[in-house]
Symmetry: C2
């Protein structure tokens, strides 16, 4: 049975997509079967893997609203064996509104994943920067939540809101939901701010912060313009190394090497 992990934080620009793409790719390069589900209407994960949104016939919108089986929209990622993506386009923004009045609106993604999950070792769900129905669907479908936190002041503010939402989902929709881990991102050791925020996050989550800290690394922001995970775009870069380290740590936590 796959480990289903939602990558969520309503604060914008903290590295959710970058983590979904690069952690997914690093685990696939280690032989794990990985599916990444794009639940953000911006579709950054979809283009981060080089998939042309204009040619994608069916996407997550059709899965959530028209009950198209997830298996029918999954696309393999050309450059990385064992890695697939369930793409999203702007149409998904419509789903957020249409779901409000729909029956069992919070469990659509969970039901869509059930028939396919066993085909994978890991399923990662990239969430949009909000706590609306798309993110609630992801939290309801997942067993764990990976929370990227940028080492910046504003990023600290949103954490308690996110935890309240996780608690609400656990109490009403998904009793198994747990924090998979907290990932410090865009860490810049030269600034006091980064160091202070990292310390504060470690105090707040004493056991859940990954040892692997993602530094600011320009290769990570260049890779998406080539439609490639950083491990393929520039395997020797710090960005590639550190997501490989994170993959090892995620495997170790899952009791698997």
């Amino acid at each position: 049975m796959a480990r289903i992990v939602a990558i969520a934080n309503q604060k914008g620009g903290v590295g959710k997509t970058t983590t979904a793409v690069n952690l997914g790719a690093s685990l696939a390069l280690r032989g794990k079967k990985v599916l990444v589900v794009d639940m953000d209407p911006q579709g950054n994960t979809t283009s981060g893997f080089g998939i042309n949104k204009r040619t994608a016939a069916m996407t997550m919108y059709e899965v959530l609203i028209e009950d198209v089986p997830l298996a029918e929209i999954v696309v393999p990622v050309a450059q990385v064996q064992e890695l697939s993506v369930a793409p999203a386009t702007i149409d998904l923004a419509g789903a957020e509104v249409e779901l409000v009045a729909a029956v069992s609106r919070e469990t659509r993604l969970r039901r869509a994943l059930q028939p396919v999950a066993d085909a994978y070792d890991f399923v990662f769900i990239d969430c949009p920067p909000s706590l609306g129905l798309l993110t609630v669907n992801a939290l309801t479908a997942a067993q764990g939540v990976l929370v990227p936190i940028q080492c910046e002041y504003y990023a600290l503010e949103g954490v308690s809101q996110l935890l309240r939402t996780i608690d609400m989902v656990r109490a009403n929709l998904n009793p198994d939901l747990a924090i998979e881990g907290v990932l410090l991102t865009m860490f810049d050791g030269r600034t006091n701010l980064s160091i202070q925020v990292a310390e504060e996050v470690k105090r707040f989550f004493p056991t859940q912060v990954y040892r692997t800290v993602i530094p600011r690394n320009v290769r990570l922001s260049e890779a998406p313009s080539h439609g490639l995970p950083v491990a393929i775009y520039d395997p020797k870069s710090r960005g590639s190394e550190v997501y490989a380290e994170l993959a090892e740590e995620v495997l170790a936590r899952a009791g698997d090497e």
Copy 2:
């Protein structure tokens, strides 16, 4: 009559709040009367001005849902004369859901601003990273949209979605809505990526990109942890200088020096 400007981009972490806080403060320091409205449930603008969200009795939630007059929630910013803020807390996230079924749900903010707008020269509205009802309210209330665009690949992707939403609002809700300007943010001249993205944005918006480009500057990310705009936190910093330059440019475009 105030110039009402929404600061919007659904891509997360591009500098919307940083621009609302620092452009607002820079204009107020030049003697303009400025109101900044926080329409993001994260409340980063509210805390960026040092306002304690736990003690704020009434906020934007009460204005939009309970018709409390905006004047009753406006709070002066202690360190900058002529600068006030309409605060937001996480309660505002509830408004997004409650507005869906409400009467004239898109024009609540416009009607709330009408009685107070004449007291100011500029009103800036900080938007959340989404194109939902809170952002639509801001676009319906505004005459112009200031679009911060981070000099990163993913930030380019969302621009056409944002323009489509602006067109939709102009066609159905607010015929006067125009692009106030496009602001390049977090520019790092040492990377090709920044230079390429900036060139592309200038090609896409030949006449609307501000000459002032905001560089990456650590003082800008430190200032919020002190609850101060950068012009007060570190007036000699590059971050402070560049938002002062932007204020001059905004005034020149408004035909006013």
